[in-house]
Symmetry: D2
Subunit: 409 residues, 4 copies
């Protein structure tokens, strides 16, 4: 299938080289839908804290595909049968797993299209592509939806130790420079094996898995839920919310056509027609940032100030607590704001708000990690470990935050 | 000067940590003019070839400052006197050396503001900031303009081995993943010394300098002048040119207010008033990409197609030759295009064009590198080297290119 | 104090460069006692598992000194007063902290000189050096012994987060290639501060400390206590034991003069005279390996086979269990060996033996880690963490092993 | 052929993981002859300058094998046919290419066994192993000797761009910390192709080859021929020479049996019998260092002082010049030494000597590098390059040195 001029090697700062294995995958990467991911950052507004974090969904998807190639090679080396068609489907499924992400990835999920996850939108795009590519994506879609009978293939796409996490933790740690969150994905992959069509980790990889889980915990609290990113993303969500509100009130906002489309109508799962998917495929980070840049001169007090905060990095104060924020604490800040700027309670609530963040280092119930002993026995990792701290780590941690303006808005 | 809450450490994937040394520099970084650099990529459209190359001018400027801190520490360790004021001025000068860059850095220099380099615009911004910061930037500006009597300070800002190159070569090599272009900037800095207020490299650094110069040559031909980047940047320039043309013809183009300002008037050195500088300070990569995204639905054949080419990465063909492109070769492509699409010669010339690219590994005449021997003797590096290849490398290399459409536009 | 020709910079694969700050430290490094550390590996026989692990105590000591320079710089930056004399003493103390190590570092501690730790021998050497260097090491020795009133200085030398661990975990992880054990020492150092002359970690470093502790746990079980290293070290100890036994029985063994000295007499704490210290200062890994190489042709069954096992990497089998090894299991292997080779019970016991290994991820009682909150409050880390897994991790883990020969010895 | 318990993965700090592909190769690695390479350093005494440079021939050989696996994978990907037998032979040939190295690698080549290169001794060992392994190494030996008809296979083993260089330049750069000598071996390998059974580099790799050649030049002058390593190696050679002389004069020297064997007789190509090869197989760095450690207490002035110089790193002075050392300069130092210590001219000549060192960045005549253009044309790289500096670099550079004692011996 390798046509000479479709062989291609990407340089990658992390893995060295990423090889495009065949012409079909080459053509998928070339496709407009996939190229769009070049304009969607992996970590939303985290670059406001970590100036190196400008890597994109495009790059992440290539990285995942590269790790999947490794995983298939390792599993075959250990005697697990994976046919060429299955390999190709695995590569395509992981390559396209994020193709449904909208601007700023998770930060704005549910803000533009309501009540529908990016994975569901990914499936819509895969189906569109399957039509274009004469059904060559059928098996990939089956695996992606978890409908294929060999369960480990789905687990390579989506589980506690899937290729998605293996890449994003490594990549995010690399680009942010938070070296202590670095995970040795390639090591983990060399430890993988398959028993009864289920993914397992070989015994000697047990400490590597522990380290992986604590690195992930660290990345969550220190990076993904960093208070500056947190507040920036909350502001971004509120910008969209306010823009929606103003649009409904008849205000004409400056924005790209694609963004206006979604501002003007409530698009949800049901409404996500082929047409709206086409418009969605034109949206990326630029639509949002450009809108913000114009809107920070808008006459609306709320919209203008939210936008300026993000653009000039003059964010709200944020306090993170282990206990729920008390109502009167919230009220105090809200009232002060109302008084100072003579704005309504509704308007003030854009700048004073509370919320909670939660993380579970190991989702023991839903996505157990199994360890394969030399004896052939398979045990869930908490039971396999010589220590109980993993059991403790499987309890979720929740924190609470309140955001409110500094002295001067 | 260190106010506790203004101490700050940035994570950097390359150097580990970058420390903000004092409150003045902290405030400069926080300034809107400097924050803008977060939205200007260092390498223009190179990410179309190297998917990791999304790093920004903001990050580069911090990196340069970090290297300058190292350089000052090393020089003082070797007994070179650098006062605290001088150190601070050096840090500020290098931090702000690129603050005048417009969207897409070099790619669009001269396309938006005519006949004025980004360094000159940087000076304008520094002077604005100097007013705001009560004259605290005066010495920095003096050094930056080459007007300070200690010449090595200017050389640390701008010369063959300045902190700018030391950072950008390392950073660009790092983010593109072109590891063979990696330069050991920190090593070079440890080899620096000062004789008669001029920067020199100690004898044992001679091979490191050679390697630096060949790495730079490699980065130019393999990365900066990579044919895909080259054609993408040429298309970008032509997009602006066409947009200008259409605007002059009375066409109303969709664009951000800031971009419209520059489309609608010819701004050059003379015209760069305080007002236009304010507008300029609102321009970044987003203004351009957002415009492209709308313009690829524009009715004008030329504008529409140029924009689509960049966005969907369906670029022109490009041939790079060691000899000048022959006129009839150019004519052949041009006429074919005119015939196929029934467009004017002027319109067709947007898609068929020639040009030249040139690079000189070592600019011996203008920016000599001097080597300090253990004996105390100082020699220019070509004379100091045990080999003549550096002399040969100081001859410029010029190549010629022609761009024209693939079969289907 | 910097005499030009004593300035020196070492290349280091991990930190880039290590700078020798002054002539006294330069002279200490040049000293025969310190140069000896070039011939003592950091990780004993671990290279039998990790072929990259040939780094030395010499290199580790330089690395520690480098991190101490960083720590002092960071603490001063935060306003902690450290005088030049104190800084110098800190650098010397950490540089020499391992100068008392004998061949193969920990593996043979107590095998050559009985009942005395390498730290105690380090003090002896420091005192010898102090005489030679006219009392310039007095403060360093005081800090090293924990007798200086500013407790954090001792903590930088010896505590849960000292510069020793900060270097060896990073270095061992680096050279073994066990990247998942990599700790971000430089990050940890930037988080340090001093409250009431005690070392603390700032609040935002809490996840980094967690990651540090789990990385250390991983390094212990996966690397330091790897079963192949474990058995190789146990064999090495038994080689010395057997050589002692044979010497006592009047056998003349081939060995270097220095090694013979210690084989022929029982040297313990009391007997460690100046003379024997001089002989000790001539011992390194080569004395041991060379002896093994000759001894593997010795007529004694036990000595010969122990030596061959190590040299040709034909080691004993080892089983690691979570429960104590049962006596009859041990007896079974022992008797089989006695029967096969017609050797005595005492001789057979060199090849069949049991033992236990233990590790505690966080020594909460003896070496607590304190966290400094933004409010100024200081809490021990288990109380400061949002999770209880650290408390769990402070419980020691013990495992048990049995070693016995493969089919053919 | 993969027996489950012979699958093995080595951790490697450079490549991450090195996989042992089959049981035969596993058994070769386990063999006593190959395990010996664990005790032979790759870079001789260079660790006296670069404290990290303690990596071994064992590790290098594994690294070469790993790169060969990559090369075969890439070439097959490009359509070059390589049978399984050929692949296996390539892996074995590169794995064993250095098995004939004696103590301290190049430093002592020709000092122990006269007039015979390590490659020739490698062939002897391969033949011994071929007997043991029932002729399974026959094809590997044929390729290694350049007798196989597919020339590119020999070129992968030995040429300007072979896997040996690709690994040692990268590895030596890595372990010394001389990052500017780092070569992107993996990149070079991805650029390889085969035309008419000859190895070529694809056009786009031309700058990478240039960078490779200048990196190699840098490594030679800055690292391999560093004046401290140079003098240390020259001293080592002279230690052996003096030991030979003393032995011939009837002196009984303390040394391991294996070393004594070679001291006592002149072993050259003819005399290298199976027996002497067995003795050779017991020699490694330890034999030499242990001898030095005893000999530094020997009564012979010359032997004693040479040994102490190396062990305590109190080396001779060395001057490197671009012109031949003048006879009277040499005489001056020699006579001074004779007068000071009242020794013979012959004895003094051990401490005062001259020599020359030479390096050729690109051996154009003997080992041309060919470039494959997209058109299918193949050109030698000097002609293919856009610059003449490679032509200049193909001229050898020679320097001259003189060594003599410092004030006090």
């Amino acid at each position: 299938m390798n046509t000479q001029n479709k062989l291609k090697i990407f340089n990658d700062p992390i893995y060295g080289f990423i090889t495009i294995p065949n012409a079909l995958i080459f053509d998928l990467i070339e496709h407009r839908y996939f190229q769009r991911l070049r304009r969607i950052t992996q970590m939303g507004l985290s670059y406001l804290v970590y100036p190196g974090a400008h890597h994109t969904r495009f790059h992440h998807a290539l990285g995942c595909m590269h790790l999947m190639q490794k995983a298939v090679r390792i599993l075959r080396f250990k005697g697990v049968k994976v046919s060429e068609d299955e390999e190709n489907a695995l590569l395509i499924a992981i390559l396209l797993h994020d193709i449904g992400h909208g601007p700023f990835s998770h930060a704005m999920e549910h803000s533009i299209v309501k009540g529908i996850s990016h994975e569901e939108i990914s499936v819509f795009f895969m189906e569109l592509l399957n039509e274009e590519f004469n059904g060559n994506l059928t098996l990939a879609i089956k695996i992606f939806k978890g409908e294929y009978h060999r369960k480990f293939m789905y687990q390579l796409i989506s589980s506690q130790l899937d290729m998605d996490r293996a890449d994003y933790l490594k990549r995010d740690s690399f680009y942010t420079g938070v070296a202590e969150g670095n995970v040795n994905s390639e090591r983990l992959i060399t430890m993988m094996n398959v028993v009864d069509d289920e993914l397992v980790i070989e015994e000697k990889g047990i400490y590597a898995v522990e380290q992986f889980l604590t690195a992930r915990r660290l990345m969550y609290w220190q990076v993904y839920l960093h208070k500056t990113s947190l507040v920036a993303e909350q502001l971004l969500i509120r910008v969209l919310k306010r823009a929606n509100e103003l649009t409904e009130m008849g205000e004409d906002l400056f924005a790209s056509k694609a963004l206006l489309y979604f501002l003007n109508k409530e698009v949800d799962k049901v409404a996500l027609s082929k047409q709206s998917l086409q418009v969605f495929s034109r949206l990326d980070d630029n639509d949002i940032i450009s809108a913000l840049k114009e809107w920070c001169y808008h006459k609306d007090f709320v919209l203008r100030n939210l936008c300026k905060m993000i653009l000039d990095r003059e964010l709200l104060k944020v306090k993170i607590k282990t206990k729920k924020i008390k109502e009167d604490n919230y009220e105090k800040h809200l009232e002060k704001l109302i008084a100072t700027y003579e704005i309504s309670r509704n308007e003030a609530a854009y700048f004073v708000f509370t919320g909670e963040i939660t993380n579970q280092a190991y989702q023991r119930k839903t996505q157990r990690i199994n360890i394969l002993f030399k004896t052939g026995k398979v045990s869930e990792i908490v039971k396999a470990s010589d220590h109980l701290h993993l059991k403790v780590l499987s309890k979720p941690v929740t924190k609470y935050y309140i955001c409110y303006p500094k002295e001067k808005l």
